[in-house]
Symmetry: C2
């Protein structure tokens, strides 16, 4: 199909498709004559995946490109894909606090991981992010919020088991890889969205209680 | 204190502090002489909150400014603060699909909300985000991932109840407002980080099983 048809089938405007081509998010089409480039069904699928990552998952162009490089790597594994998708969605940039504060926060995270019996390594992108979050709570004297982390951890463990079970049922490797990307990128967005709704509900219920502030 | 002392106490470089002042994220200090501006402890606190939102929570400057406007509003309530913080962290921009697809996704979200007995309105920022996510899963023929949403919803409900309970124990309104902001902004980041660790653990366990792909 030509680029206009690709735009029609995906709802992505032609200039945006050209931008993605330049940014390396979409492989080039096949030039069949000096003035004509043909795109295939694989382009439709890839374009939808790119839009899902950028618009719904909130990834940057750079992060999306990193995930796609892993998707297209011949050596890809589902475990490796999960890692790439996880690194891409973990956007914490800070690296603050004294060495002593950092070590204390790191110890607290290590204890949390041990409490939940998790087999993980400190190079997991979530680990460093969590150390940073613990440090921030402490820095703002909000140690009380740390009490919530065990509940988050229990929920995360249950969700991960359910996610991997869904992934195991996907027949093809292509499908598994795509599910790993979508499950991580859109799964975070879905969890955040549901938290918004649940928080509104909980907040309303608290407001209705007498004697509550 | 002078700006150099403010930088020392927060670890934020002077040019960055000046940038935050220009962007309206930090209120101006008090000019005590033509060459001297004094900052107070409230500036230290605010600066830490700004850094937490931008660096650890991943908010944009614009989103952080919106949250702070609500924090500083005389009419603020904890319920209102939660709403502002929730809108700021919900960054989904897409609005795609045909009217029919959109209505179908909206019905599915409405059913999910009803199944979980939530009192919420369709203007909740999570609602529209969730419709978009359902639409994206359908568009990519990954209806199987929708099966995960009920698990996410259950976890979200439990976490929201725990979060509101922590919030209720914070004595001052200032503290409650700050907890609502941090609980939402950093709570999402904490949940995402813990999901990374739990997913790595689950993925390792699946890999170790014989006969699994």
């Amino acid at each position: 199909m030509r680029i206009g048809e690709l735009a029609r089938r995906t709802g992505v405007p032609v200039p945006t498709i050209k931008y993605y081509l330049r940014e390396g998010l979409l492989p080039a089409g096949e030039r069949t004559s000096p003035n004509q480039v043909q795109y295939a069904d694989a382009h439709v699928r890839r374009l939808k995946l790119v839009r899902a990552m950028l618009e719904v998952g909130g990834l940057s162009i750079v992060a999306a490109r990193e995930v796609l490089a892993e998707v297209d790597s011949p050596a890809r594994t589902v475990h490796g894909m999960l890692g790439a998708a996880q690194s891409a969605v973990t956007r914490i940039t800070a690296n603050r606090g004294t060495e002593e504060e950092w070590e204390r926060a790191e110890r607290e995270v290590a204890e949390l991981v041990r409490r939940h019996g998790w087999a993980t390594k400190p190079d997991n992108p979530g680990w460093k992010a969590l150390v940073q979050i613990v440090l921030t709570y402490r820095d703002l004297d909000r140690g009380d919020l740390l009490a919530l982390l065990d509940g988050y951890a229990e929920a995360a463990a249950e969700l991960a088991t359910a996610e991997l079970a869904v992934l195991a049922q996907v027949p093809s490797t292509d499908g598994k890889v795509e599910s790993a990307v979508l499950g991580t990128v859109l799964g975070d967005a879905a969890m955040a969205a549901l938290r918004r709704i649940a928080q509104e509900d909980a907040s309303r219920r608290v407001q209705r209680q007498p004697h509550s502030a």
